[in-house]
């Protein structure tokens, strides 16, 4: 393929002039895709993520889940740049061990959330490119979801979607769990079975329309009995 820029108006090739140093930008970040979702119920919490790791139009792995177990009552879901996800979870796990050795007890969900906020803000001027959502049980045994932005702003929610298909999932959750934009509907409290079924349906829809979401869905169900995992296949194309 011949570039038109090399030819002048008279049809002959232009003379080569050195234009000076050219700046090539190196980006320290990459976007590896993936979607994470967390739902809090009366006495349970769910953290679900797809397992596809991609870059550009290629797939790196079909089996790379984005939920990481932190304690017996807390799971974190991280999506965004995979390198930063791995480093951030290493740092969180090290800090959890330090806390346990100093204070002789495990960190609670609320404490982990507060700590993560300070860890993220510590790199305010070269952030971790990670969208975090923590799901777990609080001290009273009720479900808790904490959602973060890449620099540490967080709040406690009932449900939250993050990652590449978050814009597709969040409105659906607002409607089905938050009963938004609906009237004359019986507002029943969310049961574990209904929440799991909703999460599966919602990820099937996300995999249909988002290219970065697919392959398989891993759901971590956190109850006072412990953490249980369910794996459901999704579209592989």
């Amino acid at each position: 393929m011949i570039s038109a820029r090399a030819y002048g108006d008279n049809g002959k090739m232009k003379e080569y002039h050195y234009t000076g140093p050219v700046e090539h930008k190196f980006s320290p970040y990459a976007f590896n895709g993936g979607t994470v979702l967390a739902v809090a119920g009366e006495d349970f919490a769910l953290v679900a993520s797809d397992t596809r790791l991609s870059e550009g139009y290629s797939i790196h792995s079909r089996d790379s889940p984005k939920c990481y177990k932190l304690t017996d009552t807390t799971v974190i879901g991280c999506s965004g740049f995979h390198g930063d996800c791995l480093t951030l979870t290493k740092i969180i796990e090290a800090r959890l061990k330090m806390y346990k050795h100093s204070n002789n007890k495990s960190m609670t969900s609320g404490a982990i959330a507060a700590m993560l906020s300070t860890i993220l803000y510590g790199k305010r001027f070269f952030p971790y490119y990670v969208y975090n959502i923590i799901g777990g049980l609080d001290e009273e045994g009720r479900g808790a979801v904490y959602s973060f932005d890449p620099v540490g702003s967080y709040q406690r929610d009932t449900y939250k979607a993050g990652g590449s298909a978050s814009a597709m999932l969040q409105p659906l959750l607002d409607n089905q769990i938050g009963f938004k934009n609906m009237e004359n509907v019986e507002q029943l409290p969310l049961t574990l079975e209904k929440a799991v079924q909703l999460v599966k349906d919602v990820f099937i829809s996300a995999a249909e329309r988002d290219v970065y979401t697919g392959d398989a869905l891993k759901i971590c169900i956190i109850t006072k009995e412990g953490i249980r995992e369910e794996i459901v296949p999704l579209r592989k194309d």
């Binding site: 011949i2 139009y57 609906m182 009237e183 004359n184 079924q197 349906d201 290219v211």
Partner: protein, 278 residues
Amino acid sequence: MALSNVLEPAVSGFNFENSTRNIVLENGSEEGKIKAPKPMKTGTTIAGVVYKDGVVLGADTRATSEEVVADKMCAKIHYIAPNIYCCGAGTAADTEKTTDMLSSNLTIFSMNSGRNPRVVMAVNILQDMLFRYRGMIGAHLILGGVDCTGSHLYTVGPYGSMDKVPYLAMGSGKLPALGILEDRFKGNMDLEEAKALVSDAIHAGIMSDLGSGNNIDLCVITKEGVDYIRPHRESLYNYKRQAKYKYKPGTTPVLTKTVNQLELVHETVQMMETAGSS
């Protein structure tokens, strides 16, 4: 504003009047940065193979708009002439319009000369047009057809380059598809073998490339005619939702209601001279 398009004929070629304005808008103040709308690309896998009696063309059916799937069942194999079909990858609007224009030109030629067009003619017309637009038209095309000189398979690139080969793949999924084609292609295959090869090549593209997916379309062109198989292979992934998400009437609040009764005031009948009216 529309009236001005009727009174003055549109200038042909691309109009770059707004390019300085667009640069100012995109690089404006931090808060006011406006992103230009991105055209929908087909992010595709297309392939073609010449076999004993003709040509087999194949394509996936997913059209993406960056990361979102815009169309799950789009048709990428376009009709050019009764004996020539074209697969298109690249910007969706460009492939549609280019192939439409090519098809119209060849129909006029057929009517003028009473002959079926030859595949080389289609290729030359495409090359001319795409070269004239200097690559601004993002159409990566695979043309296949059977004419009086035999079966042919060509590829035309967006800058006007052309290649005549017995097997081809284009689009974002071309590398996995080409892997399958390089492994299993041989000359003078029979129909079932050729269809299986193209179908597997597209399937490789669908599984390995995020821009391709859903179903596989095939088009078999021979001297006798064309067999457009849509879809040849449906996507295996038909996961059913577990719950029904239907809303009862009354879920959306009704704020106001006005009823306009339409009265029949006056009825007239006007005869029109159209061919075929009884």
